[in-house]
Subunit: 192 residues, 2 copies
DNA sequence: ATTCGATCCTAGCGCCGCTAGACAACAGAG
DNA sequence: CTCTGTTGTCTAGCGGCGCTAGGATCGAAT
């Protein structure tokens, strides 16, 4: 039995290595550079080994997305917990969210832009994704305003942040005025 | 002279055919299906002909983006011109923008998501792109509120719409509640 | 009629995601 | 300790991608 356990541990370790390497490569050179050949070379195994862990490249992206979603949730919770008052909490959330997107662009893409084969906004949505939304909801639900559904408000605020994050990083918005944009959003959307 | 003119006309016509075909194919089967081989086959020329018009696939995407941006600007202007009062104009703008994104997803991607090799938010940005932003600014500038720069407000409102459009189409937001989301955005962000 | 340049196509390069089938390594049985 | 069967890994290759070199063809101008 112990032999089997050891093999399973090794297998799990290698799977983590694959995900970590894919993430690293994506952050360094973009997702286009994450090819199965390069990935295999970096983990010092042959290509088919990847396919014994994941159905394909898509699932690898999905694995990075799940890992990233957990980190995003943690970052948002940490930031909001350290802030006093509703307005400050919302501001801290916005900053934490945009900082995460700016510092981990490839991971952010894996979660929100690329096709990782994951179900979103359904009952079988993986826990980390649900939890990331829950982290936003915990803070934003209390500033939705009277008669506005907390979930709906969270969706709209989140979408606004997402728009700022993606348009900025795609060069569609000049990066200079990020700060006043966040201020404007935080001043207008929530009822504080 | 007339011979040369005819050839130039034919050349221009073929270029339009390439762009139109790429757009059609992208809307039908997604941008991944727009390969140089398939595109060449559809226009009934060989692959290298594409490269006598465009530097590569990227530039073809860029051409579709410019065409789309002009249409988006026109759609926004038409919708806002037909609305009475600031609040209604902003609402009409939001609906027109999101409708365009929903009805022309591939074109929308070409403009705002994909790399078409175009410069954005710079002085050498192509006219259609500047004009699309201008169309938004014309309507949104007047509801920015006191002390808020019209351009900045337009950027934020636009980013919010962009977030709603992309997250909805990527399946990250359930499509049912689109309407109340737009209402919320229009009620809160502008000063009407 | 002949030249000569523009135009277009065939063929192919190196890369991609993915997989079939050969081969080695090793746990468990005798 | 040897044999055997499974498990795991690799080599090699398929079809398709963006892109390009070089040769054939066609038509305008002499």
């Amino acid at each position: 039995m112990s032999v089997q356990e050891r093999k399973e541990r090794e297998r799990a370790g290698r799977e983590r290595l694959i995900v970590a390497t894919a993430r690293e490569l994506a952050e360094q050179q973009g997702w286009d550079a994450v090819t199965t050949r390069r990935l295999a070379e970096r983990i010092e195994y042959s290509q088919p080994v990847l396919y014994s862990h994941f159905r394909g490249k898509r699932e690898i992206i999905g694995a990075v997305a799940l890992q990233g979603a957990a980190e995003l949730a943690a970052a948002v919770r940490a930031a909001t917990a350290a802030a006093d008052g509703p307005r400050e909490r919302v501001y801290a959330l916005a900053r934490a969210y945009l900082d995460f997107a700016a510092r981990n662009p490839a991971v952010y893409d894996a979660i929100f832009q690329l096709d990782g084969g994951l179900p979103y906004a359904q009952e079988d949505t993986p826990e980390p994704l649900k939890d990331a939304f829950a982290a936003l909801l915990e803070c934003l639900g209390e500033v939705a305003g009277d008669g506005v559904h907390p979930g709906l408000f969270t969706e709209v605020f989140w979408a606004s942040l997402h728009g700022l994050a993606t348009l900025t990083r795609a060069g569609r918005l000049p990066p200079e005025d990020t700060e006043p944009r966040v201020e404007l959003l935080v001043d207008r959307l929530p009822m504080v």
